[in-house]
């Protein structure tokens, strides 16, 4: 504890922005610590699906794979998985960070990812052992002490016992670690929290089985098992997307910037995978998509029914379909329609820990709850010297925007350290 590990910069958050910033700083010759709260690197972007139909739709989800691979081979970056910031002190221009790392119960050197521990864990459904679809991570299993029975009352050691004797990767006795890091610069890249679809209770998320979020659809498409109605595994033909769930309302008076793009790309992908499908989207205003937005919208309009209306209450039909009513611009009156699957295009909300983290770092949040940038022309700087921002911690952005900002942040950090 007396000798803090010294780094040029510490990056908080191992998602696409944090990884991109860390890699670029390493390229600029800085020594970097990358701190990730969860056991796995890659963040949300790495869990999204490729949206290519016959051609690439430029969503950027594949870019996370490239960068993760580079991350694990980069000697200039020290990784701190399953680690949180608990304290931040130090003099102006020098941060002293106290980190707490959860017990690394599963030894990465021994684990063969056989998955037995997760299969047999009695508290698996409570999240005592979690796994990841981001295959670049190793191990891809982690014990979460907060939900593990052993850490609760010592009542269970199933994972330790079930782990093959030749591997012996699980050791529940491993302690949590406290570390001190010292760095002249800190980059906040802690990402976002998807908007809670239950804030629009009339859409029935959680109540109507065939109402899902965009993320859930991405997961279905990513694992390659095909798109089925979650309620009854029936085939899907009529699909509706509903836009602006948790964006552009009283609580969140901003546009999340990514939902129109992912909705239309996912809609086109569904149409491509299921040629019989009829895809509709309900929207307020369609935002630009990609660098060739007019061309993209021309194509999307041919494949997807676009309706300017936000539906009222959703209902579950006896046959499992979801029915909704909306004011049709075309007809000039309210109309009803039924869909096999309703996908809520949830927006980008501020990270759940932002308040706590901002207090630790002694910096401000915007009224919407994101980290406050120094000014609109320098969104990767804060009012505090040495404290930088990257990615959606600062506000809504797409993958391309996160990467671009992260690279800029890396340059800013390098300039700052040189001029210091």
């Amino acid at each position: 504890m007396n000798n803090p590990e010294k780094y040029s910069a510490v990056v908080l958050g191992g998602g696409i922005a944090g990884i991109s910033a860390a890699l670029e700083m390493a390229r600029l010759g800085l020594t970097v610590a990358l701190v990730e709260k969860t056991p796995f690197f890659g963040g949300r972007a790495a869990r999204l699906c490729c949206k290519a139909t016959d051609v690439c739709q430029q969503c950027g989800a594949c870019l996370a794979a490239d960068r993760l691979k580079a991350l694990f081979q980069e000697p200039g970056i020290t990784l701190f998985p399953h680690t949180e910031l608990t304290q931040c002190s130090g003099d102006p221009g020098l941060f002293r960070l106290t980190l707490k790392q959860q017990p690394q119960v599963i030894d990465p050197n021994r684990c063969v990812n056989c998955g037995l521990c997760a299969e047999e864990c009695p508290a698996f459904s409570q999240g005592a052992i979690i796994t990841t679809a981001i295959t670049q991570n190793h191990p891809r299993y982690a014990v979460v002490p907060a939900h593990c029975l052993y850490f609760k009352d010592g009542s269970c050691q199933v994972c330790q016992r079930i782990c093959p004797p030749t591997a012996r990767a699980v050791d529940l006795a491993r302690p949590e670690q406290t570390m001190e890091l010292e760095a002249a610069a800190v980059v906040v890249a802690t990402g976002y929290q998807p908007a809670d679809p239950k804030t629009r209770p009339h859409y029935g998320y959680g109540r109507i089985p065939n109402v899902i979020t965009g993320f859930e659809l991405e997961e279905m498409l990513r694992n390659g098992r095909g798109v089925r109605r979650p309620g009854d595994a029936a085939p899907v033909r009529r699909v509706a997307f509903i836009q602006c769930v948790g964006s552009r309302d009283q609580d969140r008076p901003y546009c999340s910037q990514v939902c129109c793009a992912y909705t239309l790309r996912l809609g086109r992908l569904l149409q491509h995978r299921l040629p019989e499908a009829e895809v509709s989207t309900f929207y307020m205003d369609l935002q630009n998509v990609g660098r060739n937005s007019p061309g993209f919208h021309d194509q999307a309009r041919r494949e997807i029914r676009e309706l300017r209306a936000l539906p009222g209450e959703l209902h579950r039909n006896p046959d499992g379909a979801v029915s909704l009513r909306y004011l049709s611009e075309e007809a000039g009156r309210a109309e009803s329609a039924a869909f096999d699957l309703v996908v809520l295009a949830v927006g980008i909300g501020p990270g759940a820990d932002n308040r706590e983290l901002a207090a630790l770092l002694q910096t401000d949040l915007s009224t919407a709850g994101f980290f406050q940038a120094a000014d609109p022309k320098h969104r990767n700087l804060t009012s505090q010297p040495g404290l930088f921002l990257a990615g959606t911690a600062e506000g809504p952005k797409d993958i391309a925007g996160c990467i671009a900002q992260a690279l800029a942040t890396a340059r800013q950090v390098s300039n700052y350290l040189r001029e210091k």
């Binding site: 594949c62 990465p108 004797p165 901003y254 007019p294 320098h378 900002q405």
Partner: protein
């Protein structure tokens, strides 16, 4: 079956846990020790680094380093330290280090299958690495001068930051003086303060030369050593530059009113009027109880949030007059930028009336006043509005010179007249040519914050390329056989990276070359070879296929997509890959020759899989297209030879789509099974 040309050092990074997954590493080690010319070290990767280093030192004691084959489970995680020691402490050239992930060998029910698979993977890797040649790095002298093209905020910031890093900068721009545009601000008024400050700093920095009224006439050479001919006012300059950053300013597309009338004006004109008190006063006609102003945005289809910002700021000024009622007509409110949703709501709360109409309102004159008719989808009826002033908002567009300049610079054009092809692999500032970067309004309409950020990224790229005047390039990666080159210049035409020039033969610039191999596969006289992907090396590797492993499937995979998806798939829960699956890593699908496909069948493959990136996702732009048409040609040739073309499958996929990889393997396996079944029926009919 195979002869090893050189000695091979095999490192089996094992621990007992391999056995847990069904592979007997002791047996595997004994088998590997029996490979001709090989020596083997079993090394537990969990040992402390110093111990690992000592053991490696004892093992690798030769003066001449031999190729090394490292086999491990999840090598890039578990054997990370060993890999690092080998490349850093023992100077093993990356080309002479084969890393085999034993993951693929696990998961078969039959332990014999596990070991056969592991042996197959190791034999294949051994065959490749023992014939590999090192690729060393060389220092190439480069010019440190950088040409920055444009007068945008991104151009100014790039120029200034480069100058501060001691790179001499030539800042060339088409205008007479530096007048950057404030995105989302009134174009006729002085730019934003920070932009003004940048202009002053750029104008006075000793390392920056300004070249106003400029045009790029010609560009020769390649990364690090471009020769540029530049019109600068009346002068023509010949300059040597190491890199270019393209950041030309956006333009506002002039509006064309359907009828010319003083009451139908552009937004720029309205901004001008509002900024001049006496002109503005004339607007507030004391006789009219209320001045009605119609603002028409996004008439050219999709507008941009920055255009909406301009409109809203003008609307705000109009709303501050109590007897003015502004209306805003648009198709979609493009609010996807920070602060715009709030600005829109505030304007509405202050009295702005918004109609979202499509098509845009018809504008005519009625009693010397602008007259709008439109269909209001909310009231579901045709409406008309007589107003005192109709204001047409301009849209932002790319600089008009871009298209011609892109052609001159041999850049693939981007969408809507911007530079940089629409391909996420280029993000944010890369183009198809090393040494030419784009930033800010050179590649899209964007706000200053993003444009400044891209300037930062472009500066990092330039610094990474040019260093302090010496760039690092691989030596001998692409070689041209002087005896075979007939100067047909196919390579020059197909090179996606503009890396091939010529004097009395073709020359590949090693700094600009990105090693995709498109030229090598396309050369009609086989005069170009990519080191470690030469025709001999590839075909010899194919011959390691073990006849005991069926079905024999050879998969040629682009390293940027198929190869990554294959590795991701190995880590998913799935049925194991066919035993005879033989993975071949290619630098780009564009390097997959027709000959490789035919040779694969000649050497006993039952099926061949070609996996490339999706269209518009290829790092070498057209590598996937080259691969597709070669597969089609090969299919034709196979048919002629009596081989069913269904045995050759082409798929495009993304690196993050392991599901697509598995689906492709399944599809080919099913094709083969169907063919086999048909074959069995046919032969049954004969007997």
């Amino acid at each position: 079956m195979r002869t090893i040309d050189r000695e091979l050092e095999i490192i089996l990074a094992h621990s007992t846990e391999l056995t847990a997954s069904g592979l007997d590493y002791v047996k595997l080690g004994l088998w590997a020790a029996g490979l001709p010319g090989s020596r083997i070290l079993a090394l537990d990767p969990k040992l402390p680094p110093a111990e690992l280093e000592a053991r490696l030192r004892a093992f690798l004691h030769h003066a001449e380093p031999n190729p090394v084959l490292l086999a491990a489970l999840d090598p890039y995680h578990r054997a990370r330290t060993i890999i690092r020691l080998l490349t850093e402490k023992f100077d093993i050239n990356p080309e002479l280090l084969a890393v085999v992930d034993l993951q693929e060998a696990l998961g078969y029910q039959d332990p014999r299958a596990c070991s056969l698979k592991a042996q197959h993977l190791m034999r294949l890797a051994a065959s490749i690495v023992t014939r590999a040649l090192p690729i060393s790095a060389q220092e190439v002298p480069v010019s440190t001068q950088v040409l920055v093209w444009g007068e945008s905020g991104a151009a100014l910031k790039s120029a200034l930051d480069l100058a501060r890093l001691d790179y001499p900068v030539l800042l060339a721009f088409p205008g007479a003086a530096l007048k950057p545009l404030t995105p989302g601000g009134p174009p006729a008024q002085p730019p934003d303060e920070e932009l003004m400050a940048l202009v002053r700093q750029v104008e006075t920095h000793p390392a920056i030369r300004l070249s106003p009224a400029a045009a790029i006439l010609d560009l020769q050479g390649s990364a690090g050593n471009f020769g540029v001919r530049l019109q600068s006012g009346p002068l023509v300059l010949e300059e040597k530059v190491g890199a270019l950053i393209l950041a030309p300013e956006l333009v506002l597309e002039p509006v064309a009113p359907p009828v010319a009338h003083p009451r139908i004006i552009s937004l720029t004109r309205l901004e001008e009027i509002l900024s001049l008190p006496e002109e503005a006063a004339a607007l507030w006609d004391p006789d009219s109880p209320q001045v009605q102003v119609a603002l028409l945005a996004g008439r050219g289809g999709d507008g941009h949030p920055l255009a909406l910002r301009r409109v809203l700021s003008a609307a705000g000024q109009l709303l501050s007059h109590e007897n003015c009622q502004p209306y805003l007509f648009l198709q979609d409110a493009k609010v996807a930028a920070p602060g715009l949703e709030t600005a829109l709501e505030e304007a509405q709360a202050a009295g702005l009336i918004i109609f979202k109409v499509n098509p845009p309102p018809a504008l005519s004159l009625d009693q010397d006043r602008p007259h709008l008719t439109f269909f209001d989808p909310v009231m579901h009826e045709d409406l008309a509005l007589a107003c005192d002033l109709a204001v047409l908002a301009e849209d932002y567009r790319s600089a008009p010179e871009n298209a011609a300049l892109a052609e001159l610079l041999r850049l693939y054009p981007g969408p809507l007249g911007f530079f940089q092809s629409d391909n996420v692999r280029n993000l944010p500032v890369i183009t198809n040519r090393r040494g030419i970067y784009v930033a800010g309004p050179g590649r899209a309409v964007m706000d200053l914050d993003q444009a400044f950020g891209e300037a930062d990224a472009a500066v990092t790229e330039v610094q990474g390329l040019l260093g302090q005047g010496a760039a690092t390039a691989p030596k001998g990666r692409a070689a041209i056989d002087r005896g075979r080159c007939v100067l047909c210049l196919t390579c020059h035409r197909v090179c996606p990276h503009g890396a091939v020039t010529w004097d009395n033969r073709a020359i590949i610039n090693e700094l600009a070359c990105q090693g995709c191999g498109v030229c090598a596969s396309q050369c009609p006289n086989e005069a170009i070879q990519i080191r470690n992907f030469t025709d001999d090396q590839v075909v010899t590797a194919l011959s390691t296929i073990d006849p005991r492993l069926t079905p024999r499937i050879i998969a040629f995979m682009c390293k940027n997509s198929g190869w990554e998806a294959y590795h991701a798939a190995l880590h998913l829960e799935h049925a194991p890959l066919p035993l005879g699956f033989t993975p071949m890593r290619m630098p780009c699908a564009g390097k997959i020759d027709i000959d490789y496909l035919l040779q694969a069948f000649a050497l006993g493959a039952d099926g061949v899989l070609v996996l490339s990136c999706h269209p518009d996702n290829c790092k070498s732009q057209l590598g996937n297209e080259h691969a597709l048409w070669r597969v089609e040609r090969a299919r034709g040739l196979l048919s002629e030879a009596g081989v069913d073309p269904q045995r050759l499958l082409f798929k495009t996929l993304a690196p993050n789509s392991p599901g697509d990889f598995l689906a492709a393997v399944t599809q080919l396996t099913e094709n083969l099974e169907t063919l086999q079944a048909a074959c069995a029926v046919a032969s049954g009919a004969v007997t």
